[in-house]
């Protein structure tokens, strides 16, 4: 019986040793074979023996990567959004500057581009501040306008900045003329901010007519577009009729403007 036990033990040992020897031989073969064969063995292991753990590992990594990728994409998205916004802004600016360039050649006087850097506080905009002053040869009474239309005039000048009295200031009066019928009128702003024009009751003015500066006030040169008549109140009893105007240049959307370097022909001085 003892002999059988020894034989069984030897057999078990021989089996273990044989498997061990086979595995060691295979390991050594993998080590000393050519790189091309190694690559083939590695590919085979990837695609067969370790496919299941490999897929599980890949799945776990993919979940981890998805979170990182999501964060990265969010960041990239925000960056791209910013770039798109900037590009849009540049495109708009480019368009505006093109129009300004074309516009500059229309006038006999030199014109100067200025930026709006502030406006008066309160519900109605009556004054804006521009970043040009006496150091840029800007003086009192120079007209300010944009490619859309008239904005106002320089009312106070400082070395580095100036204040512009807007057409929407109730203290402002502007002599205008109808582009179609050439009738004269006086444009002003009411206390509630509405723009109005006063014309003689027999004058030929209809809603839709465009009004331009008449050049009679001594400040604005003739022909700058101002606004469009939207409503007219006809009254045969009164000497003067009045009409509502919509300004061509909306004051709220002002970003930059032109100042015409034209000295005023005359100034009605109201101060002491």
């Amino acid at each position: 019986m003892k002999i059988f036990r020894y034989i069984a033990r030897i057999c078990r040992w021989a089996r273990g040793s044989a498997v061990f020897a086979a595995l060691i031989c295979f390991s050594l073969y993998m080590q000393f074979t050519q790189v091309k064969n190694k690559q083939n063995v590695a590919d085979f292991l990837f695609s067969s023996v370790f496919y299941l753990p490999q897929s599980a590992v890949s799945f776990v990594f993919r979940i981890g990567d998805l979170s990182k990728e999501n964060t990265l994409l969010k960041k990239e998205n925000a960056k791209l959004k910013l770039e798109v916004d900037l590009t849009k802004e540049y495109a708009i600016e480019n368009e505006r500057l093109k129009r300004l360039l074309f516009f500059e050649n229309q006038w006999d006087y030199p014109i100067f581009l200025t930026q709006i850097i502030g406006h008066n506080p309160g519900p109605y905009m009556t004054t804006v501040v521009v970043n040009s002053g006496t150091s840029d040869s800007i003086f009192y009474g120079m007209p300010v306008f944009t490619t859309n239309g008239l904005v106002g005039k320089v009312s106070k000048v400082f070395p580095s900045h100036s204040m512009v009295q807007l057409l929407s200031d109730p203290n402002s009066r502007t002599s205008v003329i109808s582009q179609r019928s050439r009738v004269l009128g006086m444009m002003f702003a009411r206390e509630n901010g509405e723009m109005q024009v006063q014309i003689s009751s027999y004058a030929d003015l209809v809603p839709g007519d465009t009004l331009v500066t008449s050049g009679l006030g001594g400040i604005y040169p003739k022909g700058i577009p101002v606004g469009v008549v939207t409503k007219l109140e006809k009254n045969n009893i009164e000497v003067l009729n009045s009409g509502n105007i919509e300004l061509l240049q909306h004051i709220e959307s002002l970003e930059e403007a032109f100042i015409i370097r034209k000295p005023a022909d005359w100034i009605v001085w109201t101060g002491n």
């Binding site: 273990g16 061990f20 390991s27 080590q31 190694k38 590695a42 990837f46 490999q54």
Partner: protein, 124 residues
């Protein structure tokens, strides 16, 4: 058969832990090796034959992640370790917990020595 499936499942779990969790664990520049622990445990419990097979499979799994030039070095070292630990277990019949830990540490040393030797041999 059930034992075989149980060890296959343990190998599967250890392989995933080794690939996913271990890269994030580092204690004084050292990282645990779940596959080596599994190899040593298998060898201690099931003997040298199971130890060397488990060691070979664990080494092979490590090999596929290592540079292809060193393919076989891990399977060689893990296989020897599994077989050697199994031989110790068979010689000493039953080991307590403390000697088992000592065996694990020695197995790690042995694995590293054989691996470094194999790499040097292969690259030379």
């Amino acid at each position: 058969m059930i034992k075989f499936l149980a060890y296959a499942f343990l190998f599967f779990v250890a392989a995933i832990l080794q690939s996913v969790v271990v890269p994030h664990i580092e204690i004084m520049d050292a990282q645990p090796s779940f596959l080596l622990i599994l190899t040593v445990i298998t060898a201690l419990r099931q003997g040298s034959l199971a130890g060397c097979v488990m060691g070979f499979m664990s080494g092979l799994f490590c090999d596929v992640y290592a540079p292809v030039e060193w393919l076989g070095a891990f399977s060689f070292s893990y296989c020897i370790v599994g077989f050697a630990v199994g031989q110790i277990e068979e010689s000493f019949i039953n080991l307590d917990l403390f000697p088992k830990i000592i065996v694990l540490i020695l197995a790690d040393f042995l694995k590293d020595i054989i691996y470094c030797f194999s790499i040097g041999k292969t690259t030379a």
